[in-house]
Symmetry: D2
Subunit: 506 residues, 4 copies
Amino acid sequence: MRFRQVHLDFHTNAAIPGIGSRFDAKAFGKAFKDAHVDSVTVFSKCHHGVSYHPTNVGKMHPGLSFDLLRAQLDALHSVGINAPVYLTATWDELAAFEHPEWRTVSPDGSLPMFRAEHGNGVGWAFLDFSTPYLDYLVAQTEEVMVNYPDADGIFMDISFQLPSISSSAKTKMDALGLDWTNADDRAAFTERSVENYFSRIRDAVHKYNPKMPLFFNSGHMRRGLRKHYAEFYSHLELESLPTAGWGYDHFPLSARYVDPLAIPFLGMTGKFHTHWGEVGGYKKPEALVYECAAMLAHGACCSIGDHLHPTGRIDQSTMNIIAPAYKWVAEREAWAVDTVNRAEIALLSLEAASGPRLVGVPGHHEGADEGAVRVLLEGKFTFDVVDLESDYSKYRLLILPDAIKVGPELKARIEKYVAGGGKVLLTGRSGIDPTSGFVFDIGAKWEGTSPNRGGDYVLPIEGLRADFVNDPLFMYQPVERARMAGGQSLGQVYEPYFDRTPRHCS
Amino acid sequence: MRFRQVHLDFHTNAAIPGIGSRFDAKAFGKAFKDAHVDSVTVFSKCHHGVSYHPTNVGKMHPGLSFDLLRAQLDALHSVGINAPVYLTATWDELAAFEHPEWRTVSPDGSLPMFRAEHGNGVGWAFLDFSTPYLDYLVAQTEEVMVNYPDADGIFMDISFQLPSISSSAKTKMDALGLDWTNADDRAAFTERSVENYFSRIRDAVHKYNPKMPLFFNSGHMRRGLRKHYAEFYSHLELESLPTAGWGYDHFPLSARYVDPLAIPFLGMTGKFHTHWGEVGGYKKPEALVYECAAMLAHGACCSIGDHLHPTGRIDQSTMNIIAPAYKWVAEREAWAVDTVNRAEIALLSLEAASGPRLVGVPGHHEGADEGAVRVLLEGKFTFDVVDLESDYSKYRLLILPDAIKVGPELKARIEKYVAGGGKVLLTGRSGIDPTSGFVFDIGAKWEGTSPNRGGDYVLPIEGLRADFVNDPLFMYQPVERARMAGGQSLGQVYEPYFDRTPRHCS
Amino acid sequence: MRFRQVHLDFHTNAAIPGIGSRFDAKAFGKAFKDAHVDSVTVFSKCHHGVSYHPTNVGKMHPGLSFDLLRAQLDALHSVGINAPVYLTATWDELAAFEHPEWRTVSPDGSLPMFRAEHGNGVGWAFLDFSTPYLDYLVAQTEEVMVNYPDADGIFMDISFQLPSISSSAKTKMDALGLDWTNADDRAAFTERSVENYFSRIRDAVHKYNPKMPLFFNSGHMRRGLRKHYAEFYSHLELESLPTAGWGYDHFPLSARYVDPLAIPFLGMTGKFHTHWGEVGGYKKPEALVYECAAMLAHGACCSIGDHLHPTGRIDQSTMNIIAPAYKWVAEREAWAVDTVNRAEIALLSLEAASGPRLVGVPGHHEGADEGAVRVLLEGKFTFDVVDLESDYSKYRLLILPDAIKVGPELKARIEKYVAGGGKVLLTGRSGIDPTSGFVFDIGAKWEGTSPNRGGDYVLPIEGLRADFVNDPLFMYQPVERARMAGGQSLGQVYEPYFDRTPRHCS
Amino acid sequence: MRFRQVHLDFHTNAAIPGIGSRFDAKAFGKAFKDAHVDSVTVFSKCHHGVSYHPTNVGKMHPGLSFDLLRAQLDALHSVGINAPVYLTATWDELAAFEHPEWRTVSPDGSLPMFRAEHGNGVGWAFLDFSTPYLDYLVAQTEEVMVNYPDADGIFMDISFQLPSISSSAKTKMDALGLDWTNADDRAAFTERSVENYFSRIRDAVHKYNPKMPLFFNSGHMRRGLRKHYAEFYSHLELESLPTAGWGYDHFPLSARYVDPLAIPFLGMTGKFHTHWGEVGGYKKPEALVYECAAMLAHGACCSIGDHLHPTGRIDQSTMNIIAPAYKWVAEREAWAVDTVNRAEIALLSLEAASGPRLVGVPGHHEGADEGAVRVLLEGKFTFDVVDLESDYSKYRLLILPDAIKVGPELKARIEKYVAGGGKVLLTGRSGIDPTSGFVFDIGAKWEGTSPNRGGDYVLPIEGLRADFVNDPLFMYQPVERARMAGGQSLGQVYEPYFDRTPRHCS
């Protein structure tokens, strides 16, 4: 897997003329080479639904008059740069327009649109994989496999799926005995649809080349779905642009989960000042160096998101900020190959433990997981993020952050781990069954959640205090109360004064 | 003016018993002394409306059995610490309860409440200075002046005022020929009410001691109201807790405006992790050192907000984080006395230039002012923030940030300044009259606001570029377009592609 | 009790000059006399809160310069016409303005206003009887009793009360151990407040003249509150203007309940085309004849609402439409004196059986009661409307309309009634306990509410059918299903076809 | 045209089995014959989109096993009863389900549904005539013409159209140079679509039989569209069920407009207690007699809406209520044939004068037209309702009700009419140009709209007064003020007292 990749977006409105009119194959290859780039993902079909090459399935961009994809592949290959190929799945404006019957229909009968917070108000329609759109998409994928067998991978973007009551979905749900007026049945069907999409695309790719790298992007790799990653993906790409909504906590959390899965993976940031698509927005070079360094440290290869100008011209300013980062990587990557991170602590992901489903647009953030990771990073601990299937025995400590419900299966696994010498740290409500208290015998009895809805004050025993505070600390939320078996205490809970019934005010 | 002050909040629900029950005069004074504090603001009356001393005007806190204010004053004075006295104005729960007719009535007939975003849902009623409440408040102030003549100042909190159509307000507006159904008339009356409040309180204080320091707090000193500051205030206190909604930009912006006014002032931060009232929340000591250092640098004395425990007991953990900061200050304050900042640049405040009024709760943030200050600070320029009455001739450059409307008077002042050798920098729409273009002859002609609602791309001429970008930059907003007289250009504006009418999507 | 009354509203904005300037005592008396009127309710204090006579308690209307009330009383008495006196209770604009602390405060902290649907947007504030306003109102009532002892009654308008959390109400609820944040406690306190108001006013009137007629108006006499009517009222007035929201069903329903209570009562309609206050709106004379005839038929005396012109001038057109109606009454009233209606059927009022409370503005309409009354009237049956305390033994049939819940007490009363030969008709859900079926042994077993939410089709056995329908009738709602003990059936329920799960549409 | 028609709805969910299982041809024909019915509209395709006969275009109802339409035609014809055939246009659930791309898309991107106020929550999707649905519908129509040439007419229901931005509509609007983001352009295109639908269906019918009666139903015949009625319709059917939202004013207003157009027409009421579809709801027979009598009086033939039971069984109770009405009609219709109403008054319809468009669902009600018709009917005047193209010279009086804007063309027409001896009555704002006053020289000058927003009081001169009112009448709205040329007056306007600024209340 290449270490210094560029993801070269090319979402180009069909109304724009002169596509690729300033494309210069030599300059194109040289620019990336000079910037120390060794792989560039280039476009077959973008969100506008048009193709950047002749096609018998869809439509070539009306402003394009030659095979741009071929020209890019050749230009890159000629200087030793890899060139995986991008197609978009759920969002395809052209298909949505020409085949409204392929669109996702929300359970309330409306037609959902994705409107980015940072966008200009325009949105993307959602296509429904249970309709014949999937056949169309598979045909497009096969066409790429046939005509561009020398491509270095298939990147299938926007691989998530909203629940749909399109006529196709209704008909198929009826046939499966699922009730399309029921939300659980709709979710079950949505998962089937996504799995079918994974399977159909994988088969279409492998039919021509079983070794072709293949990745399905959804903007976030849900923790706990390792089965899908093993079955359908050749590698993982962690989209995580810190300035574009993902924040600086998302990548380390994602990477610490993916790294131990032993699937090759990369981290993907962007060159943009804020978000994808910003052709004229530039991040400071220092930031890219930091972000790439973090990827290497977490065992990931690197990818930087960029967006090509409609004319195909290279933006030299962008090359100027990518170059320092990839020079930095190039000088160090020899030491990053075939390395393995070793960690003493396993953090059980709340996202993973909550049973994530292949339904809807993945959310980037899970507070308990992010908070725990931040504490561990700031404390400079070595840790992995684990799921319900991980082998805990490799770790000295297992942390269940804040809100992990422990069912019989997990309980048994943890008890075995403890029997083998492992230590467990429960925080917040983790491991508490609201009807019966602690699931484990931790030497203390749960005495319920504090009734102080505004928060409690707690003074831990001395060994557990922050170094500069010896007075009760405000907790911001109600605490879980517990008492040690021998009457010992881990600290004292104080009643807050401010919860007194206000005397006068309404 | 003392450099190392603590603002010791004491808003204590009337339902809490045992007020001051663990107050120890000696320990109290010693704790502050040991923490290098030299002034502590203590409480006569809090937002709950109860007094912390015997009173013939209001009511002493029912959980208090001695003169706590006197005890605090004596304890502090005995170790050489100043003790100004706090009263609250617009928020007084007891008065609002016992005299509903004193409450502010919103123009829609409802009774407004202040509910803090960070709060527990309870709010404060607003009292109306046009009602007899003002007499009550004046009497409370006079009682403090009589019984505590040795106090070191009067701090009158919550000095703003919402527009009101209380029966008193209606009657007075009728008498003044103002129409209480008209928003402008209501605003004019509100300003009169606030000025009357300033005047009545100042006279009540000066009647007993014309030298008693006096400050009216509103959470933000609106820029442009220097007339009021000169007429009614002895000094200014810039409330600005960076973690509590004010942010890190508010204090430097406020200080750079106040410093040149030649009125003594302090910066007020808090010891809280987040916001006022958090008895058990602790900021890291390093943060307090930084914040106090910034105050010294901007010519301000320091004040740290704290909140006393209902029992009057000192919170030693708080002292532990205040002490390092004030030790740092103590070691440097000799060099801060009688110093004057000198600046080369004057930034004309948009808030000041927009004609702020004494109406409503002051907003903390003005984007154009904050953005300009951030640029100037990051660029390490010396600057002051000025208003329409400042003397610009002291500065080499005058900046009008983003949205300053230039009327005839300001135009004349600036032209005179330029005639005297001054330079002017206009950014954004500043100095542009939308009907006639540039108000000044800047050697260019305004060609209108760009029609590209989503933003423009601009490539400045070489001398004006960022050092690492030589391609058009995305502007995020429509730009103001101008052309140089001699045909020269400051740069090139490019049409964005993304504003093309989307062909398919809705 | 007089048969031919006029309720002469006089709500006159304090800004109107020349009040009573065209009042001519002789013409005033003569006009009513000529129109066959024998009682005119005249005004002490109107909703604007001003008095129409000199007063030491409130304020005389600023546009009035003489004792208009005295002049009206004398003018009417001189021609043998009675003159009861009107005061308003909960709505008093002047008091609300001068004493905002007397206003009702809604549980959400807002100040409620009554804004009539038909009004011009202006509303009336609600005053709170738990505040000192009640003392003020009692003093006004006593002043009338002292200065106008020859008045023929006291009409106390707007006698309802909204739940209030005014400071007075909070303080009193605290003292009573009631929780003002709890809706039930607020309702209990509201009832106490209204009862205290009834009691205080009754005592104030009886102190001077125990025989003075006294009525408290709330726009609707809630059925089931006979205890209050007996304890505080000398007679009842059924406000019920058919064109002003009450409709044509309200009066007969109200009258059939009140008539058997053996309290003298009148029906009150209006001369207005639509609603109260319409000085220039005229109902057709024929309508007034009909409405008065219905009153006589139901055992009621008559009252017609009118509104006096600010100048006190008689509106002759109004007299022209009242005269024919009251001539008609005069010619028949000899036969209406001391008459008693006899009925065979008792309709148990759902409003009465639901336990009405003295809280809020009474609603005019209760669907089950109105529907049953309409059926009985159209079928020309003789009936009374009864409550839980009525003697059912006088009736041959007792009807429980649609939704009467039968508790142990009512069950016992009805079983005794049946044992004495009475018959009972249950309709809808009446007499069904959803957990155990029919409360009575009616010879059938309840089989639950139909699951057909859209409605059922029912074909009754022949004897129970409408004369022109022999096919299943659509019921519009789910029916209660029952089966006769002996397998017989009262009819057949058919499944509707339209509840089939729609195959295609969403 | 037949006088005694039944419109026999048959909207039958595809999930219902046993369609027509109890159909008895002999009984079917006899039942209608016995009820004096001479025409029954029967179904080819209902809103569920299924056909009631074998079809090569759509789908036969899955619960039907024979050619029900043929059976009905033969049964009716065998007893001399006509049988026009019904198809539905914009609402077709099956087509909407199988071809989501044929659905109307609202300008906000949602999929509109028609949900009847009286319905059970289920709705009908709207199909877009600019899509291939129109071809499908035309093919269905032709199939009926081919297979059922003996049918006595084509009734094309739901012939309106919502503005649509379906992909088809966008593509066609682009081709026409219309902007689908512009509401006016969308409306223009919607009109084109409807006209194209009219034209295509008419041509499809006439291709096989140019004499086949043809009607397009939209629930209301918009006044002013006589051009379309002449071009595409063989006759008109005025759907107007008084108890189902149309009210009792809609039919006479519609009929008085249609009658003078000299196009044969019928009035259509229903047998339902409330609304269409109510198989088990029965109107009183007397009501049907009244409604049919009104139709005869207005020059219309009669039609009574009914709904057939899914099994095809005749509902004898319905026959029992239709029979008396149609017996009444049969006995009188000889005198109704070839009659012409003569009227002295022409009422210019506001709906017609406002330029109605073929866009959206027609509203049933236009207040000014309805109010004027009610006055004329109650006053027993003979009148027609006319549009901008009518010949006014036949009438002695032309009324412009309340809000007719008079442009140059209408002005010229009216002035010519007056020159020929016609009289004109303007009410309300009719004939007033707000910038210049009366458009005609009526001998008076417009003095503006009264500023009394709450309404005025007017006392007309004696000859213009209501017979029983000689005092100023309240107008409920601001009046238009005018003064006669010679200083004479038509009455006096009084200022209302209630618009005085309220002194106290808010």
